[in-house]
Symmetry: C2
């Protein structure tokens, strides 16, 4: 169950996924993520003629979606070029007029588009611009909170921290853990229905936002927190450190992409080796949780063949001494085995 | 000379320092800081009857200040309780109507007080709410920039990072260095006439803001950058790390308060020892500047007697092997000696 103190900020399901008229199926990445991780939340898709994406959901008009009980239309694609096409706006105004909320992870704030803002007001609906925090946060207190927390961290940006966290939540729930994914980026928030886009929080409040996101809970409850950035990324390490301190993780899972040669988006920076990444995160994380441990490594091995990938993971595991998995290829079960053993009082 | 690309964001001097009617001289800390570090910028003070502070400047009305060539009235005190008293607002509206700009480091945004905003518009004047960045920044690039940079860092918040940076700028200029203090907090910005309140920058852009603040420059030019927070503070370490990465310092000066038992504002955290603070800052700073070095330590020894302070500094210096000074008691000359030796090609 979500633990948010301000539940009016949760996006209400079920969803109609809006994919517009994208020219390539890959552009529907956000919609696919929601469909994959929260199938029970997705009632249908709204596609324009010629749309190249298919989420394997019933095609629905706004009216049909309302009849099916949909509460929110979720923008699952980014418009080419950035500006919202008129056809999108007309569809979204119709959605508001028919009683749906809108959720969007776009850079463009839908709340700043006058037609949408006015329609939302007129029809009493909500527009969630999930990239921009709607609330303010307290400064981090550093006080230790009851409950367990796992944070995914990375050797770089875009190495699978969100995917790994969601895979861990799924596997942990399947084994009876009381576990909740906590989202820190726009796609994660649309999947979870809530969360905080931590990189959009004012710097003073990063660790406070992470504390808010994973508040005090039952002693055996796990928050599985989506990491952001990397301590090794010259643009974003501050975000990663604030999140690490505020999350107070008991358990870290380090994420990596096999074969990545350069830190994303900057010139002249190499990803660290995985042991270095583990050591620095553990060392800095001790400030707010002296018991922090790395419990496993999740590697995106998509660039490798099957055999090569298995050899890579086995070699890594031999070096690091922790379960090393590919969340897509092998699943994260062996990391969860470790959490089970650690939580078993007889072991 | 300030290096800002957008010079219209510089606060124009000279200043009239507004201290209102504070009940204790200590409340005029900001005004005193400006008076102390930028005496040439301060033409006068505006005090209400009964004001307990005296900046040792001519008392002036708004009209007199305008006649003396003042360009900006600077709020040098915080109002008791937070809200601006009516008498302040009347005075500030008068200042705008007489052609002065206003600069303020208060939490309350003067631009959000309708009387002030409207008067500024009517009279074509500017209101600088320096706690809130007026511009947006790019994401940090991590690209190495020509020019030298020194950053003050701390074992905790409020240990003298701004004072030390200003003392270094003064001493360096006196010895012929081309050096500019670069402010990262509201008091520093009012002193320098510009800068960025980095803790108010959106997390994604912390290191980018630090890059903007200390851009490419002549090879022998020094930006002396005011540090914020501490890597050891559970609320603010993310800000400190983003600033460290964006500043790309060649030289670090670690600041500390002798005798401090607890990290400021949080429960259960102890300041690190100074060597630990040096090591972590150097180790993390290497990401964006592999040549980073700690060049000295600045300690606030106000809690110690003279003899005890000198013993403390000598003992520290013996342990650390770097110049350890109290910027107030001993000055920072010995740290600048080290910079001179390091920059002398014959040494």
């Amino acid at each position: 169950m979500p633990q948010y103190e301000e539940c009016e900020q949760m996006i209400e399901g079920p969803y109609l996924l809006f994919v517009g008229g994208v020219s390539h199926a890959l552009y529907a990445k956000t919609a696919n993520g929601i469909r994959y991780w929260r199938p029970e939340m997705c009632k249908g898709q709204l596609r324009f003629p010629g749309c190249a994406a298919d989420l394997d959901l019933p095609d629905m008009s706004i009216i049909q979606a309302v009849q099916e009980g949909v509460k929110t239309i979720v923008i699952g694609v980014a418009p080419a070029g950035g500006a919202l096409p008129d056809a999108w706006i007309a569809t979204l105004v119709e959605a508001l007029s028919q009683g749906l909320d809108i959720a969007s992870g776009l850079h463009t704030r839908l709340n700043e588009i006058s037609e949408l803002r006015e329609a939302a007001k007129e029809y009493g609906r909500r527009i969630f611009d999930v990239r921009y925090p709607a609330q303010s946060f307290a400064v981090g207190s550093g006080e230790k909170r009851v409950g367990k927390r796992l944070l995914t961290v990375g050797t770089d940006c875009a190495v699978g921290k969100m995917y790994t966290a969601l895979a861990l939540e799924k596997e942990m729930r399947a084994r009876g853990f009381d576990a909740d994914f906590q989202a820190t980026g726009q796609t994660g928030i649309l999947i979870a229905g809530g969360g905080v886009s931590v990189d959009a929080v004012v710097s003073d409040f990063i660790s406070g936002a992470a504390e808010w996101l994973s508040p005090v809970n039952e002693a055996d409850h796990w928050d599985v927190i989506e990491g952001q950035g990397s301590l090794f990324h010259p643009s974003y390490a501050g975000v990663s450190l604030g999140l690490l301190h505020g999350a107070q993780p008991d358990a870290l899972v380090v994420c990596h992409e096999a074969g990545r040669q350069n830190i994303a988006g900057v010139a002249g920076y190499k990803p660290p080796d995985i042991q270095t990444c583990i050591d620095l995160n553990v060392s800095l994380g001790r400030l707010t949780n002296p018991d922090i441990k790395c419990v496993g490594v999740g590697v995106n091995t998509a660039s490798l063949g099957d055999e090569e990938a298995m050899r890579y993971l086995a070699g890594l595991e031999n070096t690091i001494g922790l379960a090393c998995v590919d969340p897509v290829r092998t699943g994260v079960g062996r990391i969860v085995d470790h959490l089970e053993e650690a939580s078993d009082p007889c072991s």
